[in-house]
């Protein structure tokens, strides 16, 4: 894919989070409710004005219509709005950005925050505004970084140009991920190279979220001032707590993990494992193909469980995996029967703790959770691997761990109170285990979908990163971690070495045409925009694309369109899975505008079909 150079103009003009619950009384100053305001250099008066007015108008309109405000337009700005509980978010963009895209951007931003911090209300209860402001700033800058105008229209994943890479490398990446999943604590993973996706098992939205942390740590690591202590594992590993929504978790669980093995720690014990397919990778995301190309490996993986047959997969170096893992004695809990629902007490101590750990999140079993957490820190300290991560000065990681601890502490106190008032579950009572959404994380109220804490594990090998979403106790399970680490290390090294030699790919040859192809399923964008700063010659194309994208979003039945202004004729077409935009340069645009079937504008569809074949875009 062509490198898309950021446009000069700052498209996001304002972003703020306003907490209406802090400004209830007549005399309460507005700024008391301002949790975060971007740009931060905005004068306080103006912050007051915008927050006060927009939130006020938003509330008034919501009351009139009995529904929260979603979009608020001014003559020179448009704002996507999210109103929830007493919170009021507003993201302002210039008018050229399609409204649907601004809304999407705001949702992404809020979701990112929740992914790394959990519930917003709780985050603000246990953290200082300054700390969280830094996070908002970080996520916002991430969403804006390196964005071309097209990225504002389509929020897309940045992926490796697959036409430029040996497919075997992609396969290799996919297999590394599959192998990691043999550890039952690992839910799914993705492999990133220099900020681009090589292979992922997660949904595009989740992959996008995971990437924020990766890019953040990468940026920090690449700064010479920061020294990274190499751990005994020889690479950089860190982990942080993240929060998944129920639907994200269900999506992950419905996918490739061998339920027989892993479900001991997941509460879906009654639901039969859905073996839809083994893995979703970049190359087989479209749900149409059969199993990935190493059926032998896959099958053995399904039948057997953990590591004993790991080395059967040729991509793994047998020596590495064998030397570090004792294949014959996997930790006993991994072999626990999935049906042993009532047997928690019989499980290993560690396992018992984990159960109560979950439990504490919902049913406020403060005591045991406390014990668990207290016990967690020593593990953290003693584990050389984590030690390395902690010592390397990686603030993001460190903060994440600290934060986790802090949150539990607070939660404990808070929940004790709540529990007292509600008289909810006593220890041992497990209401969350029986419901359809049995695992529950922090939540503010019954409406909000619960957020489930998970662990994001990152293993970096130079520009290459293996990111895994794992059960929270993965961190304390040093055996599993070591296993995952060592089983993938050699392969990651190999993959990195190969990918490094791949040229970044000449930016799409500036041909006699310009196109943009958006894959809605994978959230990937292919385009051949030159990316010259300002992109003046491409502006008409981007403008038309923006209009057409909005039209496609608002009109389900619309399949294709040609629009022509004095400067450009642009063709747009879409299906369920993709949107494609095409403009032919050159040729005479001189025409009278009167209908004429010899007009070049009307040959755009066939030209697009023909030209885009070589970019791997099939419009037939």
């Amino acid at each position: 894919m062509a490198e898309l150079v950021p446009s000069n103009s700052r498209r996001c003009t304002y972003f703020f989070l306003y907490d209406g619950s802090k400004v209830k009384g007549e005399g309460d100053p507005t700024r008391q409710g301002i949790c975060y305001f971007y740009p931060e250099e905005t004068s306080l008066d103006r912050q007051d004005l915008l927050c006060g007015q927009l939130a006020g108008v938003g509330r008034c309109v919501s009351e009139l219509s009995l529904s929260p405000v979603r979009i608020l337009r001014l003559r020179r700005n448009k704002f996507a709005i999210r109103m929830k509980d007493d919170f009021f978010w507003a993201l302002g963009c210039s008018l050229e950005v399609p409204t649907v895209s601004v809304c999407e951007l705001l949702d992404q931003l809020i979701n990112l925050f929740c992914f790394y911090n959990g519930s917003v209300r709780r985050s603000y209860q246990i953290n200082s505004r300054e700390l969280l402001a830094a996070r908002w700033a970080q996520y916002l800058s991430h969403l804006q970084s390196g964005c071309s105008e097209l990225h504002y229209i389509f929020s897309c994943l940045r992926t490796l140009d697959s036409t430029n890479v040996d497919p075997l490398l992609l396969l290799k990446a996919a297999l590394i991920l599959q192998a990691c999943q043999r550890c039952p604590l690992v839910l799914a993973g993705c492999i990133l190279f220099r900020g681009r996706v090589v292979s992922t098992q997660m949904s595009p939205q989740l992959t996008m979220k995971v990437m924020v942390h990766e890019i953040e740590t990468y940026n920090k690591a690449s700064r010479p001032a920061v020294e990274r202590t190499s751990s005994p594992f020889g690479g950089d590993v860190c982990a942080t707590t993240v929060f998944l929504t129920m639907s994200e978790l269900q999506f992950l669980q419905s996918a490739p993990i061998d339920k027989d093995v892993s479900s001991h720690s997941t509460p879906h014990k009654d639901t039969p494992p859905q073996r839809t397919r083994l893995s979703r990778t970049l190359s087989d995301m479209t749900f149409t193909e059969s199993e990935t190309s190493d059926p032998g490996c896959s099958q053995s993986y399904l039948k057997v469980s953990y590591s004993p047959h790991l080395s059967d997969c040729s991509v793994f170096s047998p020596s590495t995996s064998r030397s570090t893992v004792d294949p014959v004695s996997p930790p006993p809990q991994f072999l626990e029967s999935p049906l042993s629902n009532g047997d928690h007490s019989d499980e290993a101590d560690e396992e018992g703790l984990e159960v109560s750990y979950y439990h504490s999140f919902l049913s406020n079993e403060g005591g045991s959770s406390r014990v668990h957490l207290d016990g967690d820190s020593p593990v953290f300290e003693e584990n050389p691997l984590l030690n390395g991560a902690g010592e390397d000065g990686d603030a993001a990681c460190g903060a994440a761990f600290d934060f986790r601890g802090a949150e539990y502490g607070h939660e404990h106190e808070e929940k004790d109170l709540e529990e007292a008032s509600r008289g909810v579950s006593s220890p041992g009572h497990e209401p969350e285990m029986s419901g359809p959404s049995p695992r529950s994380g922090s939540f503010d109220n019954s409406e909000e979908s619960p957020l489930i804490p998970m662990m994001l594990y990152l293993h970096r090998v130079k520009g290459l990163v293996l990111a895994l979403l794992a059960e929270p106790h993965f961190l304390s399970d040093s055996a599993s971690m070591e296993e995952v680490y060592h089983s993938s290390l050699a392969s990651l090294n190999g993959l990195e070495a190969h990918l490094r030699t791949v040229s970044p790919g000449a930016p799409g040859a500036p041909g006699p045409y310009v196109f943009a192809h958006f894959d809605c399923i994978q959230s990937t964008l292919t385009a051949n925009l030159s990316g010259r700063p300002g992109g003046a010659p491409e502006r008409p194309f981007v403008r038309a694309t923006s209009l057409l994208h909005s039209h496609f979003c608002n009109t389900e039945t619309l399949q294709e369109a040609i629009i022509r202004s004095a400067g450009a004729a642009v063709y747009g077409t879409r299906s369920v899975a993709q949107e494609t935009y095409f403009q032919q340069y050159g040729g005479s645009l001189r025409n009278s505008g009167i209908p004429n079937y010899q007009d070049s504008a009307f040959s755009l569809p066939s030209k697009a079909r023909h030209r885009l074949m070589k970019h791997g875009v099939n419009l037939l």
Binding site: R46, L49, L50, Q53, G56, V57, G58, R59, C60, V61, S62, E63, L64, S65, L66, S67, P68, V69, R70, I71, L72, R73, L74, R75, R76, N77, L95, R543, A544, L547, H551, T555, T557, L558, Q559, E560, A561, I562, I563, R564, S565, A566, G567, A569, R590, N591, S592, G593, I594, P595, N596, Y597, D599, A601, F602, P605
Partner: protein
């Protein structure tokens, strides 16, 4: 759930229209916030309380941020569109998904247009306008608001049911009645006083399309035609389908030498004759039908004069066919003078507020110096009349002392409030002349009932044959029009924007209803693209293929090169004629690059079945575009 609200900056409701659902919603919410036992308050209070925070926030944003709200959308897809005209804030709401932002914005502009037609230049003074829209007397207020509500509903109805209203075009048959059948009538005939006298339509002064559309709304509101399109049954196609308007063809403009004309004298010799003859013909009226005052744009040699006073008489000819007579007000010279003065003060105020001072502020035409002696004379002429001009006299003297006196402050920023004050005073004079209910002394100026009757009879006689034709035509059962020469073509609309002709047929019945909804949405979609500068649009949508073309030709039919169409901001007035004469401006813009040529602008919309290959579709469009304006070869007529 729909609503349209006009409010002053201080959140005073100047007008509201709501459907029952919205009204109920407001009442409930207001009731909930009130203490119990107080009973339901007046609806006006409820709606003003509910909207007050929005209105106040709007003015805060304008004052402090220099930006203003244009729309809100909620998660359940309620849309609020806001637009501020001077100190009046218009808010249009839709909660049932039937109207988009564009529709609501158009409604706001139409409302503003109707108010202008009804109140003329008084609308230029927010202060006076506020009082005019919200009379102290509650009964009077109720009457006025009911009338405005009726106009709004009539507009919505026409737009919903009438294709000509949708594309905002008037179809003029080119020469005489014999063309009538080609563009069967919407049953409104407009005449002016002069054409009355001669009983032909050749020499009438031109009315702008925008004004004509507004008049149609008013006439339709007065005599709603009962040709309801929702009538069930295949036979009841009366009034549906083909429609067009008949108006007199453009004629040489009036020659009027106003300005120096003494007040209250008939300006146009023609009019004077007409009025004279009316007076001689007059028989004391037993029950004079009162004309309605309307303010319309008049184009004269020296330029356009907006909001000139006219009297409008609506006379029913047959059910559904109304004769509208327009007479120019004999005192329109006053209006012209007031307009010129207002213009001069507005320009001066603008330059002063832009920071120009001294002689730099007084540049441009007309200058304040040009105006000075004229205004002196004007005030002098007003003196002996019944018009109260003392206040104007007073403010003008003050103004002169400040602006012209030696050693006075001269043309500085301090003069701005005095410019404003002068404008208010002038609008006040205008109001006294044209808006206050005419006393008995005015009656002689009206068309006498006998003359009205005579006109009615004459036109009825003239139209008798055509009326029969229209009846026959209206009974024709059109379920769906098919075009044998154009297989796959379902519907098309072709508009000549230079002469305001349109050709199109739309049938009736379930299929037609479906297609109608497609056509309606196509029109708004293509206008959105046109607003952004795209003059060619083709869409494959479901089972249909839509095309839209806008192009220019010179008067010999030579196709001119497609020009750049300037993109407009999102909150600009919607493209059309009623709210804002977009096409006239477009033609003027385009003509700049084609000096010395007569430029014509055409639009073609087509709906085809999606299975037809696009080459064929484009061929059809081409054929339609080239054939339509040659009557002999017109495939449809």
């Amino acid at each position: 759930m729909k609503c349209l609200l006009i409010a002053s900056e201080s959140a005073e409701v100047l007008f509201h229209w709501t459907d029952p659902e919205f009204q109920q919603n407001i009442q409930e919410q207001y009731g909930a916030s009130q203490e119990e036992g107080q009973g339901l308050p007046a609806f006006e209070d409820s709606i003003s309380t509910q909207f007050a925070p929005i209105i106040i926030s709007c003015s805060t944003m304008v004052d402090r941020l220099g930006d203003s709200y244009t729309s809100f959308t909620t998660e359940n897809n309620h849309i609020y569109v806001l637009h501020q005209f001077d100190e009046c804030l218009y808010i249009a709401v839709n909660g049932d998904g039937e109207e988009g932002e564009d529709d609501l914005r158009r409604k706001i502009y139409v409302m503003k247009k109707m108010i202008e037609v009804m109140f003329g230049m008084v609308t230029l003074s927010s202060n006076l306008m506020r009082r005019e829209l919200r009379p102290q007397d509650t009964e009077q207020r109720a009457r006025l608001w009911t009338h405005l509500q009726g106009l709004l509903e009539t507009y919505s109805q026409l737009r919903e049911n009438d294709q000509s209203f949708l594309v905002e075009v008037l179809a003029h048959p080119s020469h005489s009645f014999c063309c009538l059948h080609l563009f069967s009538l919407y049953y409104i005939i407009l005449m002016t006083s002069k054409s009355m006298k001669r009983l032909n339509f050749r020499n009438a002064s031109t009315l702008s399309t925008s004004d004509l559309l507004a008049l149609i709304i008013m006439a339709q509101n007065m005599y709603p035609s009962n040709t309801d399109l929702d009538d069930p049954g295949p036979e009841s196609t009366s009034g549906s389908g083909p429609e067009s308007f008949y108006t007199p063809e453009p004629s040489p403009t009036d020659s009027t030498n106003s300005g120096s004309t003494p007040v209250f004298e008939f300006v146009d010799p023609d009019i004077q004759m007409a009025e004279d003859s009316l007076q001689t013909l007059e028989v004391p009226p037993p029950d004079p039908s009162t004309p309605r005052r309307v303010f319309l744009e008049v184009s004269l040699k020296e330029g356009l004069y907006p909001m000139m006073p006219h009297s409008m008489y609506c006379l029913p000819l047959w059910p559904g066919i109304t004769l509208v007579l327009l007479t120019k007000s004999p005192t329109s010279a006053v209006a012209m003078s007031v307009y010129k003065f207002l213009e001069a003060f507005a320009k001066l105020e603008k330059r002063l507020s832009e920071g120009h001072e001294g002689s730099a502020a007084t540049r441009g035409q007309p200058t304040i110096f040009d105006i000075r002696s004229k205004l002196d004379k004007f005030i002098k002429a007003l003196g002996p009349s019944e018009i109260q001009s003392a206040q104007l006299q007073h403010v003008w003297t003050e103004f002169k002392n400040r602006a012209f006196a030696r050693g006075g402050p001269g043309f500085t920023k301090e003069l701005i409030p005095w410019c404003k004050n002068m404008k208010t005073q002038l609008c006040g004079i205008y109001r006294q002349c044209f808006l206050i209910e005419p006393g008995p002394s005015d009656i002689p100026r009206r068309l006498s009932p006998s003359l009205q009757e005579r006109a009615q009879t004459m036109v009825q006689e003239k139209l008798m044959d055509w009326k029969d034709f229209l009846l026959v035509k209206s009974k024709r059962n059109i379920t769906m029009v098919s075009y044998p020469d154009f297989p796959g073509l379902i519907h098309f609309i072709c508009v000549d924007r230079s002469t305001e002709r349109s050709t199109s047929e739309l049938g009736k019945g379930p299929v037609a209803q479906f297609i109608k909804s497609k056509v309606w949405s196509l029109v708004s979609t293509t206008r959105r693209y046109l607003q952004k500068g795209y003059s060619t649009v083709t869409l494959r949508d479901g089972d249909f293929y839509f095309c839209y073309f806008l192009w220019f030709e010179n008067d010999t039919g030579y196709k001119l090169e497609a020009g750049e169409i300037p993109p407009l901001p999102d909150d600009s007035a919607p493209i059309g004629m009623l709210a804002w004469d977009y096409y006239r401006k477009l033609l003027r813009y385009y003509s700049k690059h084609h000096q010395g040529e007569v430029v014509k602008c055409y639009e073609l919309l087509t709906v085809h079945l999606g299975v037809i290959p696009s080459e064929i579709i484009l061929q059809h469009c081409r054929q339609l575009a080239s054939k339509l304006w040659e009557p002999s070869r017109n495939p449809l007529l």
